[in-house]
Subunit: 197 residues, 4 copies
DNA sequence: TATGAATGAGGTTTCATTCAT
DNA sequence: AATGAATGAAACCTCATTCAT
C-alpha cells in the first residue's frame, strides 16, 4: 500500500524538503545553545537560509520546534549509550558521563523553560525520553552489579546528577577545569572510584 | 525646594514607597523562579498590586530589577554563611549547602541568562558576589584545614557544585529524595564523609 | 471687602509662591526654546528646583503652562514696542524687528504645535495678542505715514514676516550672517531703505 | 533558499508591498504636516489601513520613517527645480519659489525638530539635500548673472528665506493674501524686481 | 502649600504566526 | 512546497496628572 494520503503524520518528504528540515533543526540546536529558549524564529530561518514560512511548515509552532530539537538530541544520546555499553563496567559509566557532557548543550535549561511555561511537552517526547532512560539504566545496573556504583541510588537520580554536570560544563566551558573537577567529585561520590584511579 | 540636597544615591524612602519597593522585589523573585528571566514587568506590577509606572520608578529598567533581585539574594546568602560559621568544621559546610539549597531560587539560571543576553550586570553586583565568595571561602578553608574536605579543589569549584545542586533541587523540588541524594553524593565526593556518618 | 474666598482666579500669592511661579515660568521658557513643545513637565520641575506637584498647582495643565509662557512673552514684547516708539520713524521699525529677533525664542513653533493639536489657546491669549498687534500697528502706521514702508501691506502681514524672520534666526543662530541677511532682505522688500543706508 | 542573493539594499518589492510602502509614506507626510513630528506611528498605521507591524517592516524606526518622508520630498523638489530651469532668468526663481511654497509642507519644522531632538539624520539625507541645493544654486547663479538678483547673498541664505516663506504659507494657508505678500516682499528685497513688474 | 510617589493610558518596537503570491 | 509580507498581541518604557503625606 504505497502511501496514498497518510494522515499528515510522517509522509516521506521530498529530498529538498528533508534537507531543509534537517538544516532548520541543526540551526535551531545551535541557536538554542547560544541564546537559550528565547531565540527568534526569524533568526532560525535566516541562518538556515530559508523563509519563515518554511520553518512553520515543518514545525507548526516554535514550541514544537524546540521540543523536536530536544527529542533528536535524546535519540543521539541513547545511541551513544548503547555504543558505549561494550566497555568494562568500571569505566562505561564514566565514559558515558564524559560523552554526554561533551556533546550536550542546554537541555536542562530548555526543559526548565518548557516546564515553567506550562508546556505539555511530555507527550511528544515521552517516548524518546524513556528510551534514553532505559539505556542509562542498563549502564547503571551493570555498574551496580559490578559493585563500582553505590546501590542506594536510582537511575532517575543518576540522571539528575548528569543534568547538573551538563549545567556546570555549560556555565564554565566544556573543557574547563571546573567542569572536570565537578565530574570527578560526582563520580567519587557515586562510588565509581575505579574511574579515578 | 526638594529636601536638603538628596544624598546622591539613596535618601530615606517614604514608608509606603519602601513597602512597595519590597513587595515588587519579592514578587519579582518569585516570578523569576517560576518563569525565568523572560518574566514580564507588567505581570510583576499586577501581582504586586501596583501600577507599571511604580515598578519603573523604583527600577528604571527590567534588567536593573533582575540584577537587584539577584543582589539581594546574594546578600541574604552571605549573611547565612556567616551565621553558620560557628558550627564545628565537619558539619558547617554541609549545613551551609543544605541551607542554600533550601532557600535559593534560580540564581544560576538567571546569571546564565543575563550573561547570554550580553547584559553587563557584572559591575553592579561584583561587590555582592565577592562578599558571598569570601564567606564561602572561609567555610571551605576551615573544612580543608580540618581535613574533612579534599584539598585539590578551589572555592570557585565548590561554588559551581553548589550551583549544580540548587539546579537539581529546583528541577525536582526542594525537599525531594532526588535533591537529597544529589547533595549526599556531592558531599561524599568532596570527601566530607563526617557529615554523612 | 478684603478677599474672603475669591473665585480662584487671581488671589494674591504668598511671597514664596510667587517666586516659585516666576521661576517655573522662566525655566519653562528656556526649555521651550531648547526642546520645543515636547518638553517634559518633570524636567521643568527639576530645573526649577520644585516638586511636580507645585508646577501643577500653579498651572493646572501642561498646555496651560505653555500658553502662559507665550502670553508673558507677548507682554514683554509689547512693552518693548512702546519703549521703542520714541525713535525716528525710519529706524523704529528696524530697531523693533531686531529686538524681537534677538529676544524671542520659538514662539512660532509653539503656536504651530498648539494650533495643530487643536488646542483652543485663542481665548486665553487673545487679549495679550491684540495688545501686541496694536503696538506693532502703531509702529507700522507711523512708518507708512512717513513713507518709509510700502502702503500695500497690513500689520498682520508685517507680523507674519516678523515671525518668519524669528524662525530663520532660530534655525541658524541669532547672530548668524544668515539671520542678518534675511532681516536686510525683508526690510528692503518692505521699502524701509532708510534703515540700510 | 531566499532568492538569489538579495542586492543588499533594495531588491524589487512585491506589487502589494510597494503599494503599502507608498501609502504609508503618503499618510506619514500628511500627518507630519498636521501634527508635527510627534505624530504617532500607530495612527500612521491606522490611516494607512495597515497593521503596525507593516509600518515597522518598511521603516524600522519612527525616525527612519520621518527621514524618508523628508528625503522623498526633497527629491520631488529637486525635480521641479530642474524642470523650471528652462524659463527666462528673470522669472525662473520666482516660479520656483511659488512652486515650492505651493507644494511643500512642514519640511522646515521637521528639520528643526529632528535637529533639536539630536537626531543624526544628517548622513541619511545629506545626499538628497545637496542635490537640492545644487539645483537651487543653478537657479540663483543664473539670476545673479542676469543681474536680477543681488550679488551679496549666497544660496544658503536664499534657502533660508525660502524656508521662511514656506513657514508663512503654512501658518496662514497656501493661497492666502498674507503668503502672497510675503513672497512679493522677499522677492523685492532680493532685487528680483522683474518678477513683480 | 509643597512634595514626590503612584497611576495608567499611550507610544515605540518585537515576534510568533498566517496568508497571498 | 517555499517565500516573505502582513498581522496584532504584548513587551518595555514615558509622562501628564492625581493624591497621600
Amino acid at each position: 500500500m504505497p502511501s496514498k494520503k497518510r494522515p499528515a503524520a510522517k509522509r516521506r518528504l521530498r529530498a529538498d524538503a528533508a534537507r531543509n528540515r534537517a538544516k532548520i533543526l541543526a540551526v535551531a540546536e545551535a541557536l538554542l545553545a547560544e541564546q537559550g529558549p528565547s531565540l527568534s524564529t526569524e533568526e532560525v530561518a535566516r541562518r538556515a537560509e530559508v523563509g519563515v514560512g518554511t520553518v512553520f511548515r515543518h514545525f507548526p509552532t516554535k514550541e514544537n520546534l524546540l521540543v523536536t530539537v530536544i527529542q533528536s538530541r535524546l535519540e543521539r544520546l541513547t545511541a551513544q549509550a548503547d555504543a558505549i555499553a561494550e566497555l568494562p563496567e568500571d569505566s562505561a559509566l564514566f565514559a558515558f558521563f564524559a560523552a554526554v557532557i561533551e556533546h550536550t548543550a542546554s537541555t536542562p535549561v530548555v526543559l526548565h523553560a518548557l516546564t515553567a511555561a506550562g508546556i505539555d511537552s511530555a507527550d511528544v517526547q515521552r517516548a524518546a525520553m524513556s528510551e534514553f532512560m532505559a539505556a542509562l539504566e542498563r549502564l547503571v545496573r551493570r555498574a551496580q552489579d559490578a559493585a563500582v556504583v553505590r546501590k542506594d541510588i536510582t537511575v532517575a537520580e543518576v540522571f539528575d546528577l548528569l543534568v547538573a554536570l551538563v549545567h556546570v560544563a555549560e556555565l564554565r566551558g566544556r573543557g574547563s577545569r571546573s567542569a572536570q573537577i565537578a565530574l570527578r567529585v560526582v563520580l567519587d561520590g557515586l562510588g565509581v572510584r575505579g574511574a579515578s584511579s
